[in-house]
């Protein structure tokens, strides 16, 4: 029979194991992001890239880019790419824009999330400047904004990928009624 405070080593080990597994589940969140970033496996983009001229001669190839846009939920915003298709040469920066029109009399705060398909190409889509990295954007009532996107396709793009789809989903973070003051004359 045990005397004094409970000391069983196995018990303590197991309680710790349970605690460790709980924290492990939270650790899965950054682990998942790191894994995706390193392997480029889920089509996510991480941060802007600088354009650096390659030191060695790399064979150029043509890649077709198609731009998609999705408005999430019921945001009263018309959101579309100014150009739907672009054919680019690898390692050559190119610019295009997306347009967002607030169709309501409210102030809408939005955030844009990009996605690349095929997922394995995500690593090679390098964004020099992207509105998707600018955080929250505010659209005043009836305002139309045009957003810049500057990017290049790195020549390390897998051989058998010639078509890349770049999609942006517009999420509404807030919708604010604007009180219009009526001035009495």
């Amino acid at each position: 029979m045990a005397k004094g405070p409970f000391q069983n080593k196995i018990f303590l080990w197991l309680i710790s194991a349970a605690g460790i597994m709980f924290f492990f589940s939270f650790l899965l969140v950054p682990l998942y992001n790191v894994f995706c970033e390193v392997t480029g496996l889920n089509g996510k983009i991480y941060g802007p890239s600088d354009f650096l001229k390659k030191e060695t001669e790399v064979k150029e190839r043509e890649v077709n880019i198609k731009f998609l846009s999705i408005v999430s939920g019921s945001a009263p915003v018309v959101f579309y790419p100014s150009t739907q298709n672009l054919t680019v040469i690898t390692d050559n920066p190119k610019g295009t824009t997306y347009i967002a029109e607030n169709k309501s009399n409210k102030r809408i705060t939005v955030r844009i999330v990009p996605s690349v398909s095929p997922g394995l190409a995500a690593d090679s889509v390098k964004k020099i400047q992207c509105f998707c990295l600018d955080g929250d954007i505010v659209l005043e009532p009836y305002e139309k904004q045009e957003w810049q996107l500057r990017f290049f396709i790195d020549s390390d793009l897998r051989k058998n990928v010639n078509d890349v789809y770049l999609s942006y989903t517009l999420f509404e973070k807030d919708r604010e009624e604007i009180m219009v003051m009526k001035h009495e004359h």
Binding site: N8, L14, I15, M21, F26
Partner: protein, 526 residues
């Protein structure tokens, strides 16, 4: 801390406490086992009632009885109650009753924690069921509660709290099992001499400790997304709904092995007893269970083949999943080899055990088909999957629990169950379960999706058949309830050996087993 060493060897052999308070304060493993088993039977009937509602609605195309919101709630609660209220507590109840006796120990290592582990369960379920009385109603997002549907669902906080509490109960129960097995085996009982049911629970307990906390993490993240403005699973904030699925199934896949490993242990005992032959390949049975448990950690994404994972991942998970068929097959062959050249009688436990082997294997076959990723693109989220998991869970886990109840009920109560009624219950259940679930393979292959309150006309005929089977199976469980109650109150007296071919320490004590057994450890022969 007292300086006096208390001598416990000569304390009074008091029986159980008198009155109803006994059941709230007991630390006796037999009492707690009984509590778990009755709780699980009640949950089985409630979850079964929800299933009757589902099959009644699906009897014909059209929404005759309920709107789709109510239907989704029944589907969700049926899953949650059967898994967390039915199967898991039943196995814990069996663990409590049998593990101490089978290893020659007087009780579980942590009896007070044992009591808490049980009483957390009715608490958790009260919280979960209370959502039925709230505006917004019960959860309706499926037992897998994928984000973002679940993130914005009414009353999801209650669901999360209930899951946390159930999880704590399971984790504590598992710690208890491992500490008991590692510390309290009778002298001479080394690990390889341990009965297979004890082995199966040792492995299951490790799995539970590893993955229940991950479920807790998943629901906590869900709660945070729902109420505290985080974006774990929301792309708008930089998160990913697919992350939820990875975390959930990292728990979810080992969870289904948690729900089958004790069944493997039970089946080994029963087949050996009624073949009057020692189990074929005892040590390979142990190694097979260990391999299954280890492999279960690396196959989770086979539940997610259609989320858009890259080719490398899909191939890996396909191959790893197919691999699990090998140790499982070894177990099935070993059971067949045990029966071969035995001297077999077909009492009710043996009928359920053999039905387990055959029907679980059929569930395994559909599982192997599901592992083939290109084919899974057709099967995923259809009734083919529903048929698969119901075959491994109902004529799988549930039949093994019923087999265990028939097998050990005489030891627990001191009375024999009525063999004719038992066989009747078996045949009604066997027919019911097959009529219910076999046609679901057909409608699944023909394209009927899961979680559909209503379906198109080409699925009508087999759905009607399935519903009839379900009503038969459901009603037959009332017969089971009657049989158990009848045994307790008016059954014929049982001997301590009970079954001619039975082997194990539990068969050396009286029937019913004394309130305290093995207070002095037995001698284990070589």
């Amino acid at each position: 801390m007292s300086a006096v060493v208390e001598n416990h060897d000569h304390h009074d052999h008091h029986g159980p406490q008198k009155g109803i308070w006994r059941w709230f304060t007991t630390t006796n493993h037999k009492d707690i086992g009984t509590l778990y088993l009755w709780f699980s039977f009640l949950a089985f009937l409630v979850g079964g009632a929800f299933a009757m509602g589902i099959r009644a609605e699906l009897f014909e195309p059209g929404l005759q009885l309920m709107d789709p919101i109510r239907y989704n709630q029944l589907v969700t609660m049926h899953g949650l109650i059967m898994i967390f209220g039915g199967v898991m507590p039943a196995f814990v109840g069996l663990a409590n009753w049998l593990i101490p006796m089978q290893i020659g120990a007087p009780d579980m290592a942590l009896p007070r924690m044992n009591n808490l582990s049980f009483w957390l369960l009715p608490t958790a379920f009260a919280i979960l069921m209370s959502t039925a009385f709230m505006e917004g109603g019960m959860p309706g997002f499926g037992w897998t509660f994928y984000a973002p549907l679940s993130t914005n669902y009414p009353n999801v906080a209650f669901f999360v709290f209930a899951v946390h509490i159930m999880g704590i109960s399971s984790i504590m129960g598992s710690i208890n099992v491992i500490v008991t097995i590692m510390n309290m085996r009778a002298p001479g009982m080394n690990l390889m001499k341990m009965p297979l049911f004890v082995w199966s629970w040792l492995i299951t307990a490790y799995l539970l400790i590893a993955v229940m906390p991950v479920l807790a993490g998943a629901v906590t993240m869900l709660l945070m997304d729902a109420y505290f403005g985080t974006s774990f699973f929301d792309a708008a904030g930089g998160g990913d709904p697919v992350l939820f699925q990875h975390i959930f199934w990292f728990f979810g896949h080992p969870e289904v092995y948690i729900m089958i490993l004790p069944a493997f242990g039970i089946t080994s005992h029963i087949i050996s007893t009624f073949s009057r032959k020692p189990l074929f390949g005892h040590s390979s049975m142990v190694y097979a269970m260990v391999s299954i448990a280890v492999l279960s950690f690396v196959v989770w994404a086979h539940h997610m083949f259609t989320v858009g994972m890259p080719l490398a991942a899909e191939l890996f998970f396909m191959w790893a999943t197919m691999l699990i068929a090998i140790p499982t097959g070894v177990k099935v062959f070993n059971w067949c080899a045990t029966i071969f050249k035995g001297s077999i009688t077909y009492e009710t436990p043996m009928l359920f055990a053999i039905a387990f082997v055959v029907l679980f294997t059929i569930g395994g076959f559909s599982g192997l088909m599901l592992a083939i990723t290109p084919a899974d693109f057709q099967y995923h989220d259809t009734y083919f999957v529903v048929a698969h998991f119901h075959y491994v869970l109902v004529p799988g886990s549930v039949f093994s629990i019923m087999a265990a109840v028939y097998y050990w009920l005489p030891k627990w109560t001191g009375n024999m169950y009525d063999e004719k009624l038992g066989k009747l219950h078996f045949w009604l259940s066997f027919i019911g379960v097959n009529v219910t679930f076999f046609p679901q393979h057909f409608v699944g292959l023909a394209g009927m999706p899961r979680r559909y309150a209503d379906y198109s006309l080409q699925f009508a005929e087999w759905n009607a058949v399935s519903s009839v089977g379900a009503f038969l199976f459901g009603l037959s469980q009332l017969l089971f309830l009657y049989i158990v109650l009848r045994t307790i109150f008016v059954g014929k007296k049982a001997t301590s050996q009970v079954w001619e071919g039975a082997d194990g320490l539990e068969w050396t004590v009286d029937s019913p087993a004394p309130y305290h057994s093995f207070e002095t450890p037995p001698k284990i022969n070589g």
